[in-house]
Symmetry: C2
Subunit: 409 residues, 2 copies
């Protein structure tokens, strides 16, 4: 018999369901590879960037690396909130004329990490609302912090979370009149996985809803640069948002920084808890105690991203992925599927009426060796959908689409 | 009147005292600079590395940066647990013949970050014990997770934490017979701030204490490579430790990675919660949900650190800081102070009997423009001590010591 400590397992963690979505998909992909060792697998699943990082950015990181070997260029602990020039560049690039200051910006090692740190700030006594479907880290981090009850298998929801249904029927924007008061509203636009970007009118409604309820919006704008049209790129374009919203963002999908790790969170000093204490001050405390700042090399890369040449290079990469998106949209369109997303996001949301997402995921993997993501992994309202990611080399996207056409012709 | 949301502030965060220690010191240093704008301040405070990173390491990071601009060299999301070759190299460098496997290793962006993630794993229903004095992140992260009661001003302790007194009288090793059963024992050796490295006999006692109580030891070995003598470098050198301990470590103080950000945590698969569930599995879930892995560039640097040339270069840097330590120890020794630490750690722990640490900190700053760290910032048993860090350029350490000699001659 093995020795066991007397420390109880954290009950909140026991509430989590199976694996976190993407490791679960990786597991199924590996099982498939065991069955078909020669399969030429194409992954349009997890949404991992595939295109090289433009040289204007990597050469800045290489330069910073070399500089760390010199007396003048060496730096140790940086400010936990991030380096000043990067915080300034983020403001002038993304929040110009929106009344955001340099010290409202917190540089991070990615949006996912900041989402968890935000949950630590909020603690266990808040009730959250989340778009259904949405990026699973919102719900899972809420469960981990003890904000929820147990998972209810019949409805595929955790107790004490408001799931805000986003379906084609409501234009992927929730019916806010049906939502009971949440403390925290996670809202991702353009949405992962549906690809829907909220309009100015919708976001105005959302801000008004938060104001009426005294709620805080955690606005995830990680895909904002993929927006083609006129929809807001930041929640702070909406008047009054600074009093009810914070925003988290990332270089991952703009510059291919999924492995380099860099993002940021904006917390306006106007955002206050019920006792008048600024949310930013508590976040600052958590960042100082639980984090030591993003890598100084990654931050040098981020600064290069926001130079004129870097911005152009990022837009070129984004343009490339958007062409992929068009190819995927056209493919499913031509096969007679209802297809959503794509226009303002690197994700295509394909409808398979009456079918289980995991079944469709399995069918596509089995028959075409293409990895997608089952919509139900993003929430119960994702059931019947598949998310196809546009992150891929062109020849892989074309080949995947050829295989889709064969399977569903 | 400003608008306030209706979201209550997290009560656990309100329990924290003043600023986190090091930002607080930075604040006092800045106030000093306002008063003495021309002061040539020398910082032997926070323990930030100052010497350039050896080129064998930075050139590997530069190479990885450039590679990210090529099709073959590009990589996106890595395994949340870290890259395989780095995990293997960590095992063969630091845990050879100790029965630790590659998949017991979790690569991180630093020990401080992993300490917080570990606290998230443990949750709010555990009771912790901590060396007094010790690195403040242990206690603060426990408070944040809701494991403690309120701060009790009279004893300068949080309720529901066992403070294990480590003083010269007990050789800086706690009297374990006086400690009531904890779930989690944070133990740092060589200790920050006292510099004391526990002996094999002491660690054998500690492991036995954990086994008797069914406790889990979180062993922080961030300074292990500074050990001069024969004391254990890893808790896993103690038989049976794998069933009651995990270990967290860092490249920060070995390779000057305080800004680059890289560390690791070892969780043996033999370490089980009371229900038999492996601690490593829950940590894996937290790492997958709340973290996306350390920067791939930092990881390339870590791998270079563990090459034969990298190891030699790290040992040279450590040797340099150890010479600084000797200079500081000799200085305070010659001035008649009781001096501890230094031999096995980059920290010197100087005793000022009957005086308040913050007063001595203020006196030293005011009279010599040298920033130290007040011992009481590490816990009530640190009162009357000052921590002097050996991280500094040689000429600064020498100049600081000249000023100490003038002040205390």
């Amino acid at each position: 018999m093995s020795y066991k400590t007397k420390v109880s397992r954290n009950e909140n963690i026991t509430k989590l369901q199976a694996g976190y979505l993407f490791p679960e998909i990786a597991r199924r992909k590996n099982a498939h590879l065991l069955k078909f060792p020669d399969a030429k697998i194409i992954s349009l699943g997890i949404g991992d960037t595939t295109e090289p990082i433009p040289e204007v950015i990597t050469s800045a990181m290489a330069k910073k690396s070399y500089a760390l070997s010199t007396l003048e260029g060496y730096s140790g602990y940086g400010a936990e909130q991030g380096e000043k020039p990067l915080r300034s560049a983020i403001v002038s690039t993304y929040y110009k004329d929106l009344g955001i200051d340099d010290d409202d910006i917190f540089v991070s090692d990615g949006a996912k990490c900041d989402i968890s740190r935000l949950q630590v700030v909020f603690g266990s006594n808040v009730k959250m609302a989340v778009q259904d479907p949405s990026y699973p880290a919102y719900v899972d981090s809420s469960v981990i912090m003890g904000q929820t009850g147990f998972y209810q298998k019949d409805v595929q929801k955790f107790a004490n979370i408001e799931y805000m249904k986003c379906k084609p029927e409501n234009g992927f924007f929730p019916d806010l009149s049906s939502i009971s008061r949440p403390d925290i509203i996670f809202f991702c636009s353009p949405n992962n996985p549906t690809g829907a970007a909220a309009t100015r009118e919708q976001l105005t409604q959302l801000v008004q809803f938060a104001k009426d309820n005294g709620s805080i919006i955690v606005y995830d704008s990680a895909y904002a640069m993929y927006i083609s049209g006129d929809n807001p790129r930041s929640i702070f374009e909406i008047p009054g948002a600074k009093e009810v919203a914070l925003e988290t963002a990332s270089f991952s999908k703009y510059a291919g920084f999924t492995g380099v790790r860099l993002g940021w969170t904006v917390i306006p000093k106007q955002l206050l808890f019920s006792d008048g204490f600024p949310v930013a001050k508590d976040f600052n405390r958590i960042v100082s105690t639980c984090f030591n700042g993003a890598s100084n090399i990654s931050q040098a890369g981020g600064l290069a991203c926001l130079s004129p040449e870097g911005l152009k290079a990022m837009r070129d990469v984004i343009g490339f992925y958007k062409e992929n998106t068009d190819i995927i949209v056209e493919t499913f369109d031509s096969l007679g599927f209802k297809v959503y997303g794509g226009e303002n996001a690197p994700y295509v949301w394909v409808y398979f009426p009456g079918r289980s997402s995991w079944d469709v995921f399995g069918e596509i993997l089995e028959k075409t060796h293409v990895v997608t993501t089952p919509g139900s992994g993003f929430g119960p309202a994702g059931e019947g959908f598949i998310r196809v990611s546009a992150f891929g080399h062109r020849e892989n996207v074309l080949e995947a689409c050829r295989r889709f056409k064969q399977l569903y012709k």
